[in-house]
């Protein structure tokens, strides 16, 4: 290089950064740096580095990070806006920087090699000292963080790892450094399948915005995902330069080993650096921590993949990981390559290790996955065998990109093997649970079973089992009750579904390698249900509901890995519940970087069992509330928002309005001249108003809150002060149960119950809205229309009809409130006392005038069955509602229940209410008697017409209880100014479907 050129490059660099020279003011410098990077030539790099690199007069370490002393700058956020140049130039710039720092880089690499040798010798006491010395000399780096975490895990297991994670990230919780540390923690965590960790982090990076590329590119690299283009490689080189020079040197070394960086670019690297890389970072035998050894002292070969990530600076290990990644991530080979023998290089090139592996599941899965990538030909038998092998390979879906599976489904060559076709559809569905993927899976299943006409599902599975036992087990396990119910072309009734599932359960119980306990439980429940098939109750059909069976199925399919991780983490933590954990998620308690880094990592940088549980709860709550097939939203959609709400309110209200209108017709001559009367106008306008308001409620209010439904009252979130308390309590409870049962504890019931607890305030809010906002608003509107549109004479004639409309409206809206009550969970027995408490509490919500105090004398020993629980529930809401409506606003309501001595199984229920004045007593009594004296013929009509008291409906409900001893009576006491409702009901009721 000529002296002139050198001088001009130095001047150009100095001039570019002139404003930063000896300045104390912090401001962005990336624009100037990018301009310089773009304009300098490769020949000028050496002289530019002399000016820029490690120049204490500048506020930056160089054209990238050098040997950062603080973790806050690893990776350095202030380089994040730099754009990668061409690969050739980017590599040249970064190699020039390495060459400039050659002496220290060589020393740093030698120090790292020494640490690796100490790890290889299992001298972990020395490893920590050497790491400390290394950091003192050469600063922080990603590769040293890996060694630190690995060493901590080797020595102290998950607890040691957790402690080290906290040491490393304390003070940097909300930084990319902590995110990278969390990624490494997940990769080491013995309770987390490394492939799941890989998929999880890969999905996480894909959700991050493009501006996050400065650290997501590093994460992708850690996940072994190789660069797919030169631009990608240039980006990785640039991002590695933002971490540290030692990471940069190792990245370029690895990229060269995988042919991502050209030999001509690599040739620019200083010979001393190359020498130490080649001598110390080519190959090593992996050190496998004993914590990965299973209880039966076997080591799974998947641990090689996990541990290899911590030694990926070795070129041979890096090569192997890239081969594995090509199976895990890449697209199918082109057609001309399709006949390649399906022997995967990945499993054959497995690294050496210091402990032999006795379990080869990882290699097997890679082999099967690679076989699937190259499937070709027309040999149906071999395809069926492959399907059977896939069915026997655990979590095989994690090894194959979904795009490959989809392309294979379109491949003509597999059409002859329905077994392979089905298993492909099953894997696609496991990866992406869409309705279309679910249907495709069912269609192939139905074709598979329809093909053998005249045979049952179980017989067909038996046949398949002869040659393909794994496939038969998979088919039987998939055929859950919900799945069978959707086999429209195979199943013809609920009975058919239950009988088929019973046979399948019996078949599964004869097989090995299935969870016999859960199958036996299911079988018992199904047999019970089949025996009582005609006594099912649909009484709850309008109450909010979540399909628990489907949610459980979803939970088992999607959350089982997380649940396993949670229980294993709890067991290894072996500590009591941390009561402060939720507070750490609060924004005010999170360390926030003051600089440009506005990314929110507050949740992602937390570790430990509580956070795993939180992620399970969060996912389950989302499915519970928002799933369109079985969640609350589906129920709201089909049972409440559509049809039911408008029909339930408007049918009786319209009839009451019609009676009002008829009244106007019958008095027309005496009231008005020609045209619509004021009453008719009121009726028309009120009906229109109601339809519009109900439509608004349906569309906007009774909705799960979301950006498209901002006024939805159902928030379905755990993130409120009250719900966090529930969550914390549940976390403590579950933790202690997991520990007491040595990890063998089913979390689902607790989480399902917790979801309803989370929902309780939302349901209360919805009831409150209907009773306290919507009802007064509609009543007020009717009054206004009535007063505006009618004459005095019309008002006199129609006043009683208008009151009828108001009361009908009130009755119906209060009934709608009853829909938003947390359902009881299906169990054999229910407490009457609990039901009375709930009924009193909910009736109080109906009207702010209801300030009554309740005195309850009901023994907790009185237990109801499902049928009587529904009937008692209806009775209590009606009776306590009437007691509140007709009683003193602040009076006492006494509720008592006791078994009748001479009538076994019968309970006498009494609801007593005080009345304010003798006049009130007379009016209330007259109304109650009218409602109770309802004629037989009018009973059916009452179910839809009668509104305010609900007593007519209760009469119907009680009539349907087939017992001669069921009674309902009113016991007035004028001298005491009180009345008592008395009902006798059996504690065991069998309710038929027709009743609903």
């Amino acid at each position: 290089m000529s002296k002139n050129s050198t001088r001009s490059a130095k001047h150009a660099a100095a001039n570019q950064f002139r404003t930063f020279f000896r300045t104390n003011k912090q401001r962005p410098y990336w624009k100037e740096m990018q301009a310089l990077r773009s304009t300098i030539t490769i020949r000028e790099l050496e002289s530019v580095c002399c000016v820029v690199e490690s120049n204490p007069n500048y506020p930056f370490p160089g054209l990238g990070n050098t040997f950062p002393t603080s973790a806050a700058g690893v990776p350095n956020v202030r380089f994040r806006r730099l754009k990668p140049l061409t690969l050739e130039k980017e590599a040249a710039i970064q190699i020039a920087r390495l060459n400039f720092h050659e002496a220290k880089v060589v020393e740093a690499l030698k120090s790292l090699a020494d640490i690796n040798n100490t790890i290889k010798s299992h001298l972990f006491d020395h490893v920590d000292d050497k790491i400390k010395e290394h950091k003192y000399e050469f600063g922080e780096s990603l590769v040293i963080m890996k060694k630190e975490l690995f060493s901590a895990f080797y020595r102290g297991g998950l607890n040691g790892l957790t402690r080290r994670y906290k040491t490393i990230t304390t003070g940097y919780n909300n930084t990319a450094w902590a995110i990278l540390c969390h990624l490494l923690y997940d990769q080491l965590d013995p309770a987390f399948n490394p492939l799941r960790a890989l998929r999880h982090w890969h999905a996480w990076t894909r959700l991050r915005p493009a501006r996050s590329e400065w650290y997501t590119r590093l994460i992708e690299d850690e996940l072994a995902r190789p660069p797919t283009s030169q631009a990608d490689t240039a980006s990785l080189v640039l991002r590695a330069s933002g971490v540290s020079l030692i990471d940069l040197a190792l990245t370029i070394w690895r990229l060269r080993a995988n042919d991502n960086v050209s030999s001509s670019s690599y040739a620019l690297l200083n010979e001393d650096i190359k020498a130490v890389l080649e001598s110390s970072f080519t190959d090593c035998a992996l050190t496998i921590p004993h914590h990965y050894t299973a209880a039966d002292a076997q080591l799974g070969d998947i641990q090689l993949f996990r541990v290899a990530g911590f030694f990926s600076e070795f070129s041979r290990i890096s090569n192997w990981r890239h081969n594995v990644a090509s199976i895990l991530f890449s697209a199918p080979r082109s057609t001309d390559e399709a006949n390649i023998e399906w022997i995967p290089e990945a499993s054959h090139g497995m690294p050496e290790r210091d402990t032999p592996c006795s379990d080869n599941k990882f290699a097997t899965a890679l082999t099967v996955a690679d076989a699937l990538r190259h499937v070709d030909g027309e040999d149906r038998d071999s395809f069926d065998q492959l399907a059977d092998k896939i069915a026997d390979t655990e979590q095989i879906e994690l090894y194959i990109p979904i795009e490959i599976l989809e392309q294979l489904c379109l491949n003509d060559c597999i059409s002859g093997s329905l077994l392979l076709h089905f298993v492909l559809r099953e894997l696609i569905y496991r990866r992406s649970r869409t309705p279309d993927n679910e249907l495709e899976r069912r269609l192939v299943f139905m074709t598979l079973f329809n093909g053998a006409s005249g045979t049952t599902v179980v017989e067909r599975i038996e046949t398949i089992s002869a040659d393909h036992p794994n496939m038969a087990r998979l088919l039987a396990s998939i055929s859950t009750r919900t799945f069978l119910e959707r086999l429209f072309l195979l199943m013809s009734s609920v009975k058919d579904v239950i009988e088929t599932r019973i046979l399948l359960c019996r078949w599964l119980l004869k097989q090995d390698s299935v969870s016999k306990e859960s199958i036996a439980d299911e079988l018992e429940a199904l047999e019970r249900e089949l025996a009582n098939l005609d006594a099912r109750s649909d009484i709850d059909s309008t109450r909010v509901h979540v399909d628990e069976e489907s949610l459980r199925e979803w939970f088992n399919e999607t959350q089982q890995a997380n649940v396993t991780r949670y229980t294993q983490t709890v067991m290894s933590e072996n500590r009591p519940h941390d009561p402060t954990w939720l507070a750490k998620l609060h924004p005010k308690n999170v360390d926030v970087r003051s600089e440009e880094d506005e990314e929110d990592f507050s949740a992602e940088t937390q570790i430990g069992s509580e956070y795993i549980l939180l992620s399970i709860v969060d996912a389950t709550l989302k499915a519970f509330a928002r799933d369109k097939t079985f969640g609350l939203d589906a129920n709201l959609s089909r049972r409440i928002r559509h049809g039911s709400l408008s029909g339930h309110v408007m049918t009786p209200v319209t009839r009451a309005l019609n009676r009002m209108s008829d009244l106007a017709d019958s008095h027309k001559d005496g009231i008005t001249g020609s045209g619509d009367s004021g009453i008719q106008l009121t009726v028309q306008r009120f009906r229109t108003f109601m339809l519009s308001e109900l439509d608004h409620i349906r569309k906007d209010i009774i909705q799960i809150s979301s950006p498209s439904h901002p006024h939805g009252l159902i928030k379905a979130t755990w993130n409120t002060a009250a719900n966090i308390t529930y969550l914390d309590a549940m976390s403590a409870r579950v933790r202690s149960r997991v520990m007491s049962y040595s990890g063998q504890y089913d979390l689902f019931a607790d989480i399902y119950s917790l979801c309803w607890d989370f929902l309780a305030p939302d349901l209360a809010q919805t009831r409150f809205y209907m009773a306290r906002t919507f009802l007064p608003f509609t009543q007020q509107h009717l009054y206004e229309l009535f007063n505006q549109n009618t004459t005095q004479a019309e008002r006199v004639v129609s006043y009683s009809a208008m009151v009828d409309v108001l009361e009908t409206l009130q009755g119906r809206i209060l009934e709608v409130c009853g829909w938003f009550i947390k359902p009881v969970f299906r169990q054999d027995k229910y407490s009457l006392r609990m039901l009375v408490d709930s009924a009193c509490s909910i009736v109080k919500e109906y009207d702010d005038k209801y300030q009554f105090r309740e005195q309850i004398d009901v023994s907790s020993d009185i237990l109801l069955n499902r049928g009587s629980f529904d009937v008692f529930g209806d009775a209590l809401f009606v009776l306590i509602g009437n007691a509140a409506r007709h009683g003193k606003a602040d009076g006492i309501i006494q509720v008592s229940a006791e078994p009748i001595k001479d009538a076994e199984g019968l309970v006498l229920l009494l609801v007593k209410s005080e009345v304010g004045t003798p006049d009130d007593f007379d009016i209330a009594l007259a109304r109650i008697k009218t409602a109770l004296e309802i004629k037989e013929k009018a009973l059916e009509r009452a179910a839809v017409e009668e509104g305010s008291s609900g007593l007519g409906k209760l009469v119907i409900v009680l009539k349907r209880v087939k017992s001669p001893l069921v009674l309902l009576a009113i016991l007035p006491n004028r001298s005491e100014l009180s009345f008592t409702f008395a009902a006798t009901l059996p504690i065991e009721i069998s309710v038929t479907k027709e009743r609903g």
Binding site: T434, P435, D436, L439, E440, L443, T482, E485, R486, F488, L489, M491, S492, S493, V494, K495, D496, V497, I498, L533, R536, D538, S541, D547, S550, K628, A634, S637, R638, R639, H642, G643, G647, M650, T651, T654, D695, R698, K699, S708, K993
Partner: protein, 157 residues
């Protein structure tokens, strides 16, 4: 000609049959009352016209064990599976529902605007989506109008 009416509500079915018979007095109207019976009927023979409800039980309510899981969007399931059957129906389809909107894998679409979405989503000849009102007649005229645009000979199919 043969028409398939997929509707589980007797009252609504009677209402719709009256309008269908106004247009084709001699038409043979088959009835299906659940997703299962609808799909079996569609597979069994071709129809000249299908009138479809959106809210359907999985099985006929009269069958042993009742209707199975409630399906608010059972009509969508009929369309989804029909579109994938080897004997894919080419009959024009009219949706008559009490649902003011239809949730086609995402936000709800008003019934009036759902025709095109259903047609494109399932590649079926969906002609119209009409809102039925149990206590009003406003649905009749749009249905009559829609039927008048369907050109099927009485003897066909």
């Amino acid at each position: 000609m043969s028409i398939l009416l997929i509707e589980d509500d007797e009252f609504k079915a009677t209402d719709i049959v009256k309008v269908l018979q106004e247009r084709w007095p001699n038409a043979h109207i088959d009835r299906a009352k659940s997703v299962t019976s609808a799909l079996r009927a569609i597979m069994a023979k071709p129809f000249s016209l299908i009138v479809l409800d959106m809210s359907l039980p999985t099985f006929d309510l009269t069958g042993p064990g009742g209707g199975g899981s409630a399906q608010g969007q059972g009509g969508l399931e009929v369309l989804r599976l029909s579109s994938r059957l080897s004997t894919q129906s080419t009959a024009p389809i009219i949706v008559v529902t009490q649902y003011p909107d239809i949730e086609i894998e995402g936000p709800a679409i008003a019934v009036g605007a759902a025709t095109k979405s259903l047609r494109h989503r399932f590649h079926l000849d969906v002609r119209a989506c009409l809102l039925y009102e149990f206590d009003g007649d406003s649905w009749r005229e749009p249905l009559r109008h829609c039927l008048s645009n369907i050109d099927i000979e009485e003897g066909e199919r």
